[in-house]
């Protein structure tokens, strides 16, 4: 009997809580169509929300419409969201931007960080390997374990794989004893630093940020090669946004992004400032991706 009563009370309380929570969810959805954007989860995934909510607040103020940031777990999810019009704006990597814009005719790259014009990857090694920094890719990398970042990353997979293939004239799985995909740049650093992989590669911005944050132990991990530069991260927008929010909206978003001077917002990326971009800028990325077969030709 007591058991039965307990069950009843528990049930009623439980449904009550659920109903109240549900109410908050329902009231959160506004009437006018909000601008939704996302970003590739390239580093420190716990802080994504914190980083990009600042951007959302800024955009909402300047564009005078509701702006929502939605976090995603994978690069491909951000592309799928862009393709399906679940987001209209996105902070992509070089490669994910190309893939997304190929899938949505009329979409444009509108801005990129100043640093993204000349982006660089750092190849890193656990110090126990004894490999030191060199001007070209060291030959004694062969036969070791190596981790890329995400499978869809530009600085963590595409460009590093291209440079590796160029130097060794072999595929990564032929060069190394084992090839892994950590998922993001911070994770690659962590895996090499802990010795889970002997070698790895990451975006130089993440290396610098983690170094400044004191998260890198130079006794355990060091840079062994800095790659040549290439264009990378960019803001891309769907071509049909003018139809939803009026003619000139696309240009307005572009100018608002270029006008960001707030250090705190820029630090979230982290970039010095944003400069204008166009789709042509990323043709080298497309060609490279086709060259190694990530995008087919």
């Amino acid at each position: 009997m007591i058991h039965y009563l307990f069950g009843q009370i528990f049930g009623v309380v439980f449904y009550g809580i659920l109903f109240l929570l549900g109410q908050t969810l329902v009231t959160n959805t506004a009437l006018a169509q909000p601008l939704v954007f996302t970003a590739i989860p390239d580093q420190d995934t716990e802080r994504l929300q914190e980083r990009f909510n600042k951007v959302a607040v800024y955009l909402q103020e300047k564009l005078a419409i509701e702006v929502i940031y939605i976090p995603v777990k994978t690069y491909s999810a951000s592309i799928a969201a862009f393709k399906n019009n679940a987001v209209q704006l996105a902070w992509f990597g070089g490669l994910s931007g190309v893939q997304a814009r190929l899938a949505v005719p009329g979409s444009q790259a509108i801005a990129l960080g100043e640093e993204d014009l000349n982006f660089v990857s750092y190849f890193i090694a656990h110090t126990s390997t004894g490999i030191t920094e060199a001007a070209t890719l060291p030959d004694n990398l062969a036969g070791r374990t190596f981790t890329f970042g995400s499978k869809g990353s530009t600085s963590g997979r595409l460009m590093p794989e291209y440079f590796l293939r160029q130097h060794f004239e072999k595929t990564p799985s032929q060069i190394f004893r084992r090839v892994g995909f950590s998922g993001n740049h911070s994770k690659s650093l962590q895996l090499v630093q802990s010795g889970s992989y002997e070698l790895g590669v990451l975006n130089y911005k993440v290396w610098e940020a983690e170094l400044a944050a004191g998260k890198i132990n130079l006794k355990k991990v060091r840079i062994i090669w800095k790659s040549p530069s290439y264009p990378d991260y960019n803001w891309s927008i769907r071509g049909d946004v003018d139809k939803i929010w009026g003619i000139g909206f696309l240009e307005k978003v572009k100018s608002v992004l270029l006008a960001i001077t707030d250090k705190e917002i820029l630090q979230a990326f982290p970039r010095k400032k944003f400069v204008a971009a166009d789709n042509k800028l990323f043709i080298p990325i497309l060609k490279t991706a086709q060259n190694i077969g990530i995008i087919r030709k």
Partner: protein, 495 residues
């Protein structure tokens, strides 16, 4: 039965020789200390931030299951049709996580995608189990109704009352599974508990991970108090009403997916670059494309999946045979049984995907963590089942007094048939799990499927998914044949 067991063991030993079971981390136990510390210092303050994730986990599970029940019931009525049976077998042979990956490009990453990913495979499972329950139920009430009774009356008066309890029990069990599925889907990016679990684990925030896991166990273990049959309908309606369906359904995406994105690349290459989106028929190029796919991905994916499956199958069997005496009254005291029972419940309700994720964190992405994760999860389930089964046995007069003798000469021979039957039922489940763990970096089919989606090669991913389903159906078929051949008991497959 001995012969079958020895064959399985031999295959597993050979598979072990071919398997990649290296420990990759330099110091495999370093993280374990931090992880354990995290679990003993759960950060409950952080839990409040996850309230929406908790709600989503429950809502997705209930919407998914209720839709699954609806579709499954419809299919169950027509289960005698071969087409329906094949369809049900096909949809349940693909894991929920793969369904999410497949639905993601069609619906986008939203609530609908999550609900369907649970509902579709569950519909296949419900169809099969409901049909089996009805088929195996007492037939006399059905035979006694007057000629000319309508099918509807027949069902409600002569079938449903007989099978009601079995249906209820099985459905309740499925709700528990759905909570697990819903949680795990977060690892792929849906806003459930798994989303935050993945972040917490990958960023090394183990106190947060500990709190989230405790929350999850609390949710699963409290089910029996709040999941009352009379509440289920109300509950499902509530869940549907709060489901955040903000994104509209888009036919455009649907059509693009089916008529374009999953078409083999050579057929759409010209149309892609010309921007016309036309399909050009070049069958030679398609066969070349397929052969390349077969050599480079399908072959290795299938081999590695089978290797992992066979090792994990025997691994589960060994763990079950070692652990079941701890919950059997013929071997253990009541106290020990209760403690062991709790331990098995924890192992059983921890999704194998999560276990594998943790072990890969500790030892790196070789097959070893995957083997241990699958074996522990399934071993615990089997141990629980045969432990319970062994408690039904009445020892005959003059049974062996030494426990070891009792185990080998009395209990084991008497439960071995049911044990094998249970094990063969799990075979297909283990295969599904082996394939899915590829997403975490082990080179099974899931690895190649994940790559296909990551590189926007949906046609490749689609073919690989079909291969995975086919492999699953084949193993399921072999398992059924073997069970029949060995005359193993055909108890309900509801395990």
């Amino acid at each position: 039965m001995l012969k079958t067991s020895l064959i399985l063991l031999t295959i597993a030993l050979f598979a072990l020789l071919a398997a990649d079971i290296e420990v990759l981390t330099l110091d495999p136990w370093r993280e374990l200390g931090r992880l354990t510390l995290g679990f003993f210092t759960p950060d409950f303050l952080a839990v409040w931030n996850f309230k929406e994730a908790l709600l989503n986990t429950i809502v997705f599970a209930f919407c998914g299951t209720s839709l699954g029940i609806l579709l499954g019931t419809i299919l169950a009525f027509k289960f005698e049709l071969t087409a329906v049976r094949l369809f049900a077998a096909f949809v349940r042979s693909i894991h929920e996580i793969f369904w999410v990956l497949l639905f993601l490009p069609v619906f986008g990453l939203n609530a609908f995608c999550g609900v369907l990913a649970i509902a579709v495979p569950y519909a296949g499972i419900f169809a099969k189990v409901y049909a089996e329950i009805i088929q195996e139920s007492e037939a006399r009430p059905r035979d006694l109704v007057p000629v000319g009774t309508s099918g509807v009356s027949l069902f409600f008066y002569a079938v449903l009352p007989v099978v009601w309890n079995d249906l209820k029990q099985y459905t309740a069990y499925r709700f528990e599974c759905a909570l697990r599925s819903s949680t795990v889907l977060g690892f792929i990016g849906l806003p459930t508990l798994g989303f935050h679990l993945e972040t917490a684990f990958s960023e090394g925030l183990y106190s947060q991970a500990g709190a989230l896991l405790l929350l999850f166990y609390l949710l699963v273990s409290s089910l029996r108090w709040w999941l009352k049959p009379k509440f289920v309908v109300l509950f499902s309606i509530l869940s549907w009403s709060v489901l955040p369906l903000t994104t509209q359904f888009s036919w455009e995406n649907m059509i693009r997916f089916f008529s374009w994105e999953i078409v083999p690349w050579p057929l759409r290459r010209d149309g892609f670059f010309a921007g016309t989106g036309e399909v050009s028929w070049n069958l030679n190029a398609v066969s070349e494309w397929f052969v390349k796919l077969l050599n480079e991905e399908i072959f290795w994916g299938v081999i590695n999946t089978l290797i992992l499956t066979q090792i994990a199958l025997v691994g589960s069997a060994v763990i079950a045979l070692v652990l079941f005496p701890t919950v059997s009254q013929h071997f253990s005291t009541k106290l020990l049984r209760q403690v062991s029972h709790l331990q098995l419940i924890v192992l059983r309700s921890t999704p194998e995907y999560l276990l594998a994720y943790i072990f890969i964190l500790l030892w790196g992405p070789s097959m070893l963590p995957a083997i241990i994760a699958i074996s522990l999860h399934n071993g615990a389930i089997l141990a629980f089942l045969i432990g319970r089964h062994s408690n039904l046995i009445n020892l005959c007069h003059g049974f062996p007094k030494r426990r070891l003798d009792r185990y080998f000469f009395e209990i084991l021979p008497r439960i071995y048939g049911s044990f094998l039957a249970f094990l063969f039922y799990r075979w297909e489940v283990i295969l599904r799990e082996s394939a899915i763990l590829g997403i975490l970096g082990v080179a099974t089919l899931g690895f190649y499927i994940d790559s296909g989606f990551a590189e926007e090669k949906l046609d490749v991913a689609f073919v690989l998914l079909l291969v995975t389903a086919l492999l699953n159906l084949t193993v399921d078929h072999i398992s059924q044949r073997t069970r029949k051949h060995l005359h193993l008991s055909n108890e309900t497959s509801s395990i």
